[in-house]
């Protein structure tokens, strides 16, 4: 199911994220996320032989409140922007995102879910997405008429 619960970002939030020319492949990867794309969950991607690394700012969201799901070559991040803890406070001016967030990233390889590492530092989430090692060639024994029976 796809839904778009992401709040409308304020102009200052939009100004926060600078878009620069993306490599065509990456652009396609990021563009097909459709409605889930939001500046409040902007991605930065890095690579090396072992896999990819994703960075995304999630200010105010505790590590334990971030949901990560791996399915084949897809990583889905979801959670809820936490409300401020001020009980009974009146809102004078609101700009920060509210509600739920969710975004899926598809990578061009099978993710080794068991080796995925994620950490949050100063409100920026980093997720390491290792490639699943390709299994080596498998030798298939060809049976002769005599050995088959």
């Amino acid at each position: 199911m796809r839904f778009d619960p992401l709040p409308v970002s304020s102009p200052s939030m939009q100004a926060m994220f600078q878009f620069w020319s993306l490599q065509p492949t990456l652009e396609r990867l990021l563009a097909d996320q459709g409605a889930a794309r939001s500046t409040s969950m902007a991605f930065a991607l890095y690579q090396r032989a072992e896999g990819w690394l994703l960075r995304t700012p999630l200010p105010g969201v505790a590590a334990s409140a971030i949901m990560l799901e791996i399915d084949g070559n897809a990583l889905t991040l979801s959670g809820v922007w936490p409300p401020d803890e001020s009980a009974g406070a009146r809102s004078r001016h609101l700009e920060r995102p509210r509600g739920a967030f969710r975004r899926t990233l598809r990578v061009p390889f099978e993710i080794d879910a068991a080796r995925v590492r994620a950490r949050v530092e100063h409100g920026v989430l980093e997720v390491e997405l290792p490639r699943r090692a390709r299994s080596g060639p498998v030798k298939v024994q060809v049976l002769s008429e005599s050995t088959r029976n």
Partner: protein
């Protein structure tokens, strides 16, 4: 001030901020992802509260950039306070890239007047 080693010009943006109020205090909550408590600076001069925060923009070590929809900016924003606050009791905390500033309001002095009789 720390030297900027990043060759790109540093972007400085207004962090998205909520302003909340109770009878006793004003509360500012600002999203400053990438900033730590050590990199946030708050200055109160007259009735203007100035917020500044720096972020680390380095790519993770051993990784090649593939592309990005954002880069961490520095943050700067000034707030004009319309309520008098207790300057000595202002508290600020940065947690998970979110800055929370509590400004206790200066409540009208309630001096007890002795009643003679």
């Amino acid at each position: 001030m720390q030297a900027n080693t990043d060759p790109r010009p540093v972007r400085r943006i207004h962090p998205p901020t909520d302003v909340l109020e109770t009878d006793e205090e004003l509360i500012l909550v600002a999203d400053v992802p990438g900033a730590s408590s050590a990199s946030v600076e708050l200055l109160l001069e007259d009735d203007v509260l100035l917020l500044r925060a720096r972020t680390e923009r380095a790519a993770p070590e051993g990784w090649q950039p593939l592309g990005a929809e954002f880069e961490l900016p520095d943050y700067e924003r000034a707030f004009r306070l319309t309520t008098e606050v207790e300057r000595e009791r202002i508290q600020a905390v940065v947690q998970n890239g979110r800055l929370r500033v509590v400004l206790p309001k200066k409540l009208p002095a309630r001096d007890k007047i002795p009643v003679q009789g």
